[in-house]
């Protein structure tokens, strides 16, 4: 029995949709364990979402429809990207080639733009600070993503994520080439920034001056806030998929459409995401949060890595 392409595509989106909060919960649990605390349940994010969906929602005075529609725009973007990237399969699925990595990057940027716009609508200083900061540092992280895409394009001759994953699988020489190592490291640093992990900001939901990503949703409440929280855990999953299944470990994906292969691919992906989660928890527990003005140095370091990757490729040694 072979699953039809659209069915597998639904599984791809479903995996990211359903497992996203769970991976966040897993990271919080591991992090707490490393600090000697018992920590929240792994399923806690789901309970939080259920609670938020039951609450009433309020909008600030004078906020227009932009404020209310933004969580849904962002959510729709995060639902579209898993169609484009290899979450479960080695082969392209229906609609899988409608955009390349750059297209996925544009969708991520659109989602964060929508939320920043909503934050600007509120008139709340915290939310506006958060959105202005995230756009300021985003001006440096987006070129990093571009350079990572250039590296991919130079290595494979195309910028389809499926093509890079296939290239990496083709031999150990691909995995250790400097351009690949540098691009993957730069991508990891961008992921730490984009998911609001420790060298950039604390992820525990405490309110403080240094907030960036967490501050933007300050004025949302109830189901709207739940959509934003759910969306940001999906964004984390999407970035993990790009790092794991395109760059670092594109093994364990389904090469046929049989239900067992797809099921095993889901389990393998969850295991790999948990592995990355443990690495991120270790980073969270072993570094201090950077001062706000040092964050530009952090993202500049990621930029340096990505540019050096392109340089080594041009030299012929990459």
């Amino acid at each position: 029995m072979v699953l039809a392409g659209p069915a597998i595509q639904v599984c791809q989106v479903g995996t990211v949709l359903v497992a996203g909060p769970g991976v966040s919960g897993f990271i919080a649990r591991v992090e707490a364990r490393m600090q000697g605390r018992r920590g929240p349940r792994v399923l806690q994010p789901y309970y939080d979402l259920a609670k938020l969906f039951r609450k009433e929602s309020l909008a600030p005075d004078g906020a227009s429809w932009v404020f209310l529609v933004a969580p849904f725009v962002a959510f729709a973007c995060y639902l579209t990207i898993p169609l484009l990237i290899p979450v479960l399969t080695t082969f392209g699925l229906p609609l899988g080639y409608m955009g390349d990595i750059l297209g996925g990057g544009f969708l991520l940027a659109l989602a964060s733009f929508a939320i920043a716009l909503a934050a600007a609508e509120t008139g709340s200083p915290y939310a506006q600070l958060g959105s202005s900061r995230s756009k300021t540092f985003g001006a440096i992280t987006e070129p990093v993503v571009l350079f990572v895409v250039f590296t991919v394009a130079l290595i494979t001759g195309t910028d389809l994520p499926y093509a890079l994953a296939a290239t990496v699988r083709s031999g150990a020489g691909q995995l250790v080439r400097p351009a690949h190592v540098l691009a993957a490291a730069a991508l990891l640093m961008v992921i730490l920034y984009e998911t609001g992990r420790i060298p950039v900001e604390t992820h525990t939901g405490t309110n403080e001056f240094g907030m960036i990503e967490e501050a933007r949703a300050f004025e949302h409440s109830g189901p709207y806030f739940a959509m934003i929280r759910w969306g940001s855990s999906m964004k984390q999953m999407i970035l993990f998929v790009i790092l794991i299944n395109v760059f670092v470990a594109p093994w364990g994906l389904a090469s046929t459409g049989s239900p067992t292969a797809v099921g095993l691919a889901i389990l393998a992906f969850l295991a790999k995401a948990a592995g990355i989660g443990i690495i991120i928890a270790i980073i969270d527990d072993s570094f201090a949060k950077l001062r706000l003005f040092k964050i530009s140095e952090f993202v500049a370091a990621a930029f340096l890595l990505a540019v050096l990757g392109v340089f080594t490729l041009y030299l012929g040694g990459g």
Partner: protein
């Protein structure tokens, strides 16, 4: 057009060489003098590892001796001596350089690009290591020049000079790894002389001006 992957050994050697360059960038931006010295030790360690890997892969036993010697000297002795000198001066943080960190990094990146492409255009082939490592070594040398020019304290300038030597020995691993061992050892002892000279300079300078900063050296004194 697709870029084929180089052989695994060449890739590993290139990755190590890239990390040598990244350590140099780290030294450029490190504000703590101790962190700078630690980065220098790390860079030297990478170089010893590269020499050992090349010795194993290409069957050049002399390189093992070089790896051991450079480990003992550049990873253990030199950092220890500089740390001890630093401890006597009670200074931990370098004064700000002539430029901000971001502009320093951009400048160094430009210089790196220049080094990369000018040496890459020469198409020098080597039996032992891939030729990209040579371009990387030239980039290391140029960035260490930037480090020595923009930083205004004696320790950073000394570390810049020592890491310049690291860049040169990376280059010599690529183009002249079959150099007689005695010459390589002579280079290493050259480094020892430099350590003594810089040690004396640091002590005298700190004794006279009570700081490690070189900004006061612009005035002539009778």
């Amino acid at each position: 057009m697709m870029t084929p992957a180089p052989p695994v050994f060449a890739s590993v050697a290139n990755v190590i060489a890239v990390f040598v360059l990244l350590a140099e960038f780290g030294m450029l931006r490190a504000a703590m003098l101790r962190a700078q010295i630690r980065l220098y030790a790390f860079q030297s360690l990478l170089l010893s590892v590269l020499a050992a890997v090349a010795a194993y892969e290409r069957h050049v036993p002399e390189l093992y001796a070089l790896a051991v010697l450079s480990f003992a000297l550049k990873v253990v002795i030199v950092p220890t001596v500089v740390q001890r000198l630093l401890r006597n001066t009670n200074t931990e943080i370098a004064g700000s350089g002539a430029l901000g960190v971001a502009s320093e990094t951009l400048l160094a990146l430009g210089v790196t690009a220049f080094g990369f492409f000018s040496v890459g255009a020469l198409h020098i082939q080597s039996r032992i290591l891939p030729s990209a490592a040579l371009s990387l070594s030239v980039a290391v040398v140029l960035v260490s020049f930037v480090l020595m020019i923009v930083r205004r304290d004696v320790v950073s300038q000394a570390i810049g000079f020592f890491s310049l030597e690291n860049g040169v020995s990376l280059a010599s691993l690529v183009v002249a790894s079959s150099l007689p061992l005695i010459l390589e050892v002579a280079f290493l002892f050259d480094l020892l002389v430099a350590v003594v000279v810089f040690g004396v300079l640091m002590r005298v300078h700190h004794g006279r001006s009570r700081s490690l900063s070189t900004t006061q050296l612009t005035k002539l004194r009778g």
